[in-house]
């Protein structure tokens, strides 16, 4: 409540990068009376993994959903400010939301494979966008995507089984395969490991590191260790404000803002 009345806090650290993929300037998000994100500005670079950390309810997931306009489906959500993808405002009238979401994919907290076969799950995106001219091409896309998601060896003999029949970690990798099947430029990950056990988590983290060669990844996580392991840059959120941003090792070894330090040392959150 108190934060609602205060002025937005100034962000500590450099929010800009050269040649960003995405760039946010002065973004505010409101749900009805709730001011979820306040005056947020940040650039996201090509082929980096940027982690967003902070106590729960601080607006990280909300922000993520703004980046591919998934907030559009929530009634009452109002987004102001500018967010650009390759220099184009994604909230512009001319920006097509279908096109945007094909370029900015998303992986969710809880694995959400469609109630279809493994093959159909991965083929879903290519099918709706008409990416494959024939079945052979589609087969190839599915295979490459599953390979890149590190799932191919485990499922290649049972592609027609239900995606929901896989284990939690496999489901989450299936969702990642599904996302990369449409070759997005940015992949948003909303606590992708919070529903998984440590072994499955480790596999996803390895996968993220591999994916970095081809994609930009923006990951929200509750786990500071995870942020430290997978990301190159880290942004710390507190009650709707972006408090501090910087190279991950710097944030973890030498935080400049007192709130960041308190959080990292476990004083709250």
């Amino acid at each position: 409540m108190m934060a609602e009345t205060q002025q937005p806090r100034r962000t500590v650290g450099d929010i800009t990068v050269p040649d960003p993929v995405m760039s946010c300037r002065g973004v505010n998000v409101r749900y009805g009376d709730k001011h979820a994100i306040r005056d947020f500005s940040l650039d996201i670079a090509h082929n980096e993994v940027i982690a967003m950390i902070g106590p729960s309810g601080c607006g990280k997931s909300t922000l993520l959903r703004c980046l591919n306009r998934l907030n559009d489906t929530i009634p009452g959500a109002v987004v102001t400010g500018t967010i650009t993808l390759d220099g184009q405002d994604i909230y512009d009238r001319r920006q097509d939301v279908v096109q945007l979401r094909a370029r900015v994919g998303m992986v969710f907290q809880k694995p959400n494979p469609f109630p279809k076969s493994i093959y159909e799950n991965v083929a879903y995106g290519p099918r709706i966008h008409g990416l494959a001219a024939d079945r052979a091409e589609l087969d190839e896309i599915v295979q490459t995507s599953l390979q890149r998601a590190g799932l191919w060896e485990e499922v290649k003999d049972r592609l027609d089984q239900a995606g929901t029949a896989l284990s939690g970690g496999q489901q989450q990798r299936l969702c990642i395969a599904r996302t990369i099947a449409v070759s997005p430029e940015v992949i948003l990950m909303d606590e992708p490991c919070s529903a998984l056990d440590p072994i499955a988590t480790a596999r996803i983290e390895d996968l993220i590191d591999e994916l970095r060669q081809n994609f930009t990844i923006c990951i929200v996580t509750h786990s500071m260790q995870q942020a430290a392991r997978v990301s190159q840059r880290t942004a710390y959120f507190h009650l709707g404000d972006l408090i501090e941003v910087g190279p991950t090792e710097m944030i973890f070894t030498n935080p400049r803002h007192r709130l960041t330090e308190d959080y990292l040392t476990g004083r709250f959150g």
């Binding site: 489906t73 279908v98 109630p115 279809k116 709706i128």
Partner: protein, 462 residues
């Protein structure tokens, strides 16, 4: 004593028993100050006494009342002259009807045959005897029950537990009525059907294509045996149900989708209750609507394009039945698609799917089993629907797939065969029960499959 008076008196007796039991409990405990000595509150002792006084006696009265008519009738018939007893069952029931009329005073005793008058006298005598017996027995049972319970009252008697056990049994008895109803349906329909199949072979009924159940009056008349081939009825039922589903499924499905996923709040606030109104309208109103408005409309439209539409066409009945089923399909669809988790929708949107792609390929796909189950239930409703077809479909058993012609259905024939005088020994009346058996079995099968499918689906997302 009249049964209603008797029951009233028994209730009063029970109230008295309650007082006595309570008072006795307090007394055996050693006065009001020592009520704590008792195992249960005094009122439980009263309740126990009242239950034992009232319940068995009430059971006696009800049982007696249910059976005495049969027994008396048997006795009276037994006492009648041999030639009357030798009559075939249909004639005999006419004689019994005469006897009843004399007793009721509708017919003067002088105006009937002496045998009937005598039987009426016997009947009245037996009836008053039976009433006397019922009253006596009921009182004896009530007093005995109350007295024995009073005698049993001691501080150690676990009155509350006993009362609760009785009440639990009563509750259980109430829930058993569901089973009894099913058994009642099966037995009554099956019994009469078996009698029917003794007169008409099952194969003729199931595979015959001629349906004209009106029996000839005289045995020597041409075509005296009615034809009981039910295939035209099955075909008619299926045709009308098919037309109904053709209306109800698309309209119900699409309107549910539109209202759940697309409609603005204001439009939904108007449209949803409006469509729900359809669910509350009695079927007889739909029947009237079909006959009054839809059938003439279709006929006029048919004439306009040079089509011959019967005034009682399958199309009119099916169309209106479809309208009736719309809210059923749409509310089930609505349940099913709201049960699909938001996360699946998010997953689809975040891949760049449009809204309709998400609905068609993900939401509907996920909800499909539930919707199929719902549609099966809807078919079972269409098959069993009566009033619309009685009022808007015809009586002529045409074996046709042409929706512009008149067809008849299983339910229409049940009604036609049973409304009016019923003789429980003519195949005409019994055929209705055979049709009822088919109807019951068909809907039962559909329901069981549908409920199973729907339950599976619900478990999937719970």
């Amino acid at each position: 004593m009249q049964t209603s008076t008797l029951i009233l008196v028994l209730l009063v007796l029970s109230a008295v028993a309650w007082q006595l039991g309570r008072a006795r409990a307090v007394r055996v405990a050693g006065g009001p100050r020592r009520k704590r000595e008792l195992h249960s509150l005094p009122s439980y002792y009263g309740l126990l006494t009242a239950i034992w006084c009232g319940l068995p006696a009430l059971a006696v009265v009800v049982g007696w009342h249910l059976l005495d008519d049969h027994i008396i009738q048997g006795l009276v018939v037994g006492a009648m002259p041999a030639e009357v007893q030798a009559l075939e069952p249909g004639r005999l029931s006419l004689v019994i009807n005469d006897v009843r009329n004399v007793i009721a005073g509708n017919v003067s005793a002088d105006a009937v045959a002496p045998a009937v008058a005598a039987a009426a006298a016997t009947w009245s005598r037996l009836e008053s005897l039976s009433r006397l017996g019922a009253t006596g027995l009921a009182f004896a049972v009530a007093l005995a029950g109350g007295w024995f319970t009073l005698r049993r009252i001691t501080p150690a008697l676990r009155a509350r537990n006993q009362v609760e056990r009785v009440i639990e049994r009563v509750l259980m008895g109430c829930s058993l009525i569901a089973i009894l109803t099913t058994i009642g349906i099966v037995l009554s329909v099956l019994w009469e059907s078996l009698q029917f199949f003794r007169m008409v072979p099952v194969t003729e009924f199931v595979f015959g294509t001629q349906w004209s159940p009106q029996l000839a009056i005289r045995a020597d008349q041409v075509g005296s045996s009615g034809a009981f081939g039910a295939v035209p009825l099955f075909a008619g039922t299926l045709l009308i149900s098919f037309i109904a589903m053709l209306i109800a499924v698309p309209v119900g499905l699409f309107s549910a989708i539109y209202l759940a996923e697309y409609a603005s709040r204001g439009f939904r606030a108007v449209a949803k209750p409006t469509l729900e109104v359809l669910a509350g309208i009695p079927t007889v109103v739909y029947g009237f609507f079909a006959a009054l408005t839809v059938a003439p409309l279709l006929r006029a439209a048919g004439e306009g394009i040079g089509l011959e539409v019967a005034s009682e066409s399958a199309l009119a009945a099916g169309l209106v039945m479809g309208i009736m089923i719309i809210p059923f399909v749409s509310s089930l669809t609505d349940d099913m698609i709201t049960a699909v988790p938001q996360s699946l929708r998010d997953g689809s949107y975040s891949l760049g799917a449009t809204r309709s792609e998400t609905i068609r390929r993900v939401v509907l796909r996920a909800a499909l089993p539930g919707i199929v189950g719902g549609v099966l239930l809807a078919i079972s409703r269409a098959v069993g629907e009566t009033m619309i077809v009685v009022m808007a479909a015809g009586l002529s058993a045409n074996l046709t797939a042409n929706p512009f012609e008149a067809v008849t259905t299983v339910t229409v024939q049940i009604v036609t065969l049973l409304v009016g005088d019923q003789e429980f020994d003519s195949p005409k009346t019994l055929a209705a029960f055979a049709l009822g058996l088919v109807l019951f079995l068909a809907t039962l099968l559909l329901n069981i499959i549908a409920l199973q499918v729907v339950r599976r689906y619900r478990e999937q997302y719970e």
